[in-house]
Symmetry: C2
Subunit: 329 residues, 2 copies
């Protein structure tokens, strides 16, 4: 019986995670474990664990079996952010100092390593009979996330990244963990293989749409509600869908100008954002991004349509799919 | 039937690992996976995976079920060395450049993360029915290894580390993974819980003796066979059993002199090694180390005596126990 709203699921998860974080943070040596509590306490949308609980709730009356896997996914996700922040030299995460800034780089490495092990420890508390399947899905996904991060770092050093390369990268770095979350909840609630796989596919498509909307909002978001400064990706020469598609579609003059902007290190940032945005508009990549997003949204909805469960149970995921492409922050 | 010698088991494992390393190293993105092959190809004694196979061989005719777990343990061990080398700023490992020196620090972090995930992927190929128990033992051990590394790093910054602290640290950093290896092979070969736990205890004691011998050899080893320069730990102010015990047993004059040496950064290293060794001799910590080693050796043998298997099957482990305390390099 799917009884619970997203907010209720988030509430259930957050309460459970807070308790676990408290236990972890007071374990000795606290020099190792306290930074993990710091990371987990920083919040975030808890999107992935809520998705685990949501699909578990779609197929079962009892979501408690899915809480360890939801915890594993959230801890793993935060572990990847922690190590990504070291690799990217990031100073802030969710408004707080990153772990390597607040503590030290060695702490960020080792506490991150311990976090990744904790993820497996929680996963291991899932129903024993399902463990081989869950562990296989989780390790496959975790490796893909590392592959995505590797491609992302390599792209920053290259000047010949294609839009296809980029889509492959965001599938690995972002979409597979969302897909894995949805499938895990379904597996734990004993959904059919077919339904579990459809939910995975739904997750891939929604994950890709989510990232495209992220790229789009960075340039075309409403400064009043976006939360971050508009044009951050442009300022940091990030290779987003908009930039790569624009390079692909530009005439020679715009192309040269784009290349000039993304290789210049001492440009006036406001002019840079304005000029790059003008070229994006010229090449129509804002519409291209929206079109592609709608395409993934449609594919995602198709997956939901094929699920062999009552339509009423699909509503929460339909809402999520709509929110992903309509979100403004 | 225990048919195989240590050398045969090492041969079986090395051949299997080389094949896996080849597959891993040619996976895309190779920027992520090739450094893992580089790490695994560098060799090492393969002590831990051989122990997995050895105990499996003691309780079962078929050791093939234990190969994935042996692979998991060896990959995990190499992952910890890789990240430890980043944290310690080490330049060389087994005569080769460390991964962060040969590639980059980001590569060392991310390829290390992928290695730790690979360890779980291999573990997941163990017999499904045993997976909950194996995963629980493995994650517990892996966290303890991180705790050991954390204490080790904290001790380097402190001046009040006790011998007890040190023994606790080496139990976590070194002994538990050896114990886990022995227990895993036993679990996979369906040994009784009692025998599996005795092998774990054997491993803890042998692991502690192993580390004490390591500390002893660094100062009292024969330069002709030791392989490394004598006194390396003294030169780098490492807090070993010898140093901490010596600080505990010294008279005030020796104690002050020891403290002076381990806090001086511009001392003549040959004089430093000679003077610190003289104080070690004065306080008799070379004998104390040997006595403690023999104590752990005795405890280890007691564990073997209690194993409910034919005496003939215990021989390989008895030999290992003797080798640990008699090794000269």
């Amino acid at each position: 019986m799917q009884n619970r709203t997203l907010e209720e699921l988030r509430e259930i998860f957050s309460e459970s995670l807070a308790k676990e974080a408290e236990k972890i943070g007071t374990t000795n040596p606290t020099g190792l474990y306290e930074p993990i509590k710091y990371t987990l306490d920083a919040g975030g949308k808890r999107l992935r664990p809520v998705l685990v609980l949501l699909t578990a709730d779609m197929f079962s009356d009892n979501i408690s079996h899915a809480i360890p896997a939801a915890t594993a996914i959230e801890i793993f996700h935060n572990f990847t952010l922690l190590h990504d922040d070291v690799m990217d030299n990031a100073t802030l995460r969710r408004g707080n100092l990153t772990v390597h800034e607040k503590y030290s780089e060695n702490t960020a490495i080792l506490s991150g390593d311990a976090m990744s092990i904790l993820a497996y420890r929680y996963l291991g508390e899932s129903p024993a009979i399902l463990l081989p399947e869950l562990l296989s899905l989780f390790t496959k996904t975790a490796l893909e996330v590392c592959e995505g991060q590797q491609y992302d770092m390599e792209f920053e050093e290259q000047n010949n990244t294609s839009v296809d390369d980029y889509m492959k990268m965001i599938r690995l770095k972002t979409a597979v963990l969302i897909a894995c979350s949805l499938k895990m909840g379904a597996i734990i609630a004993n959904a059919s293989d077919n339904d579990a796989n459809l939910l995975y596919e739904f997750g891939i498509n929604i994950g890709l749409a989510f990232q495209l909307q992220d790229d789009w909002l960075d340039v075309y978001g409403d400064p009043k509600v976006f939360g971050k400064k508009i044009g951050g990706d442009i300022r940091s020469n990030k290779k987003t869908f908009l930039l790569l598609k624009s390079l692909e579609l530009s005439n020679e003059q715009n192309r040269q100008e784009l290349l000039k902007w993304i290789t210049s290190s001492n440009a006036d940032n406001d002019i840079k954002v304005a000029e790059v945005t003008r070229i994006f508009n010229d090449t129509g990549v804002d519409r291209k991004a929206k079109e592609l997003m709608l395409e993934y949204h449609k594919k995602a909805i198709n997956c939901l349509n094929k699920l062999e469960i009552p339509e009423s149970k699909k509503e929460a995921l339909l809402n999520i799919a709509d929110k992903v492409i309509n979100r403004i922050s």
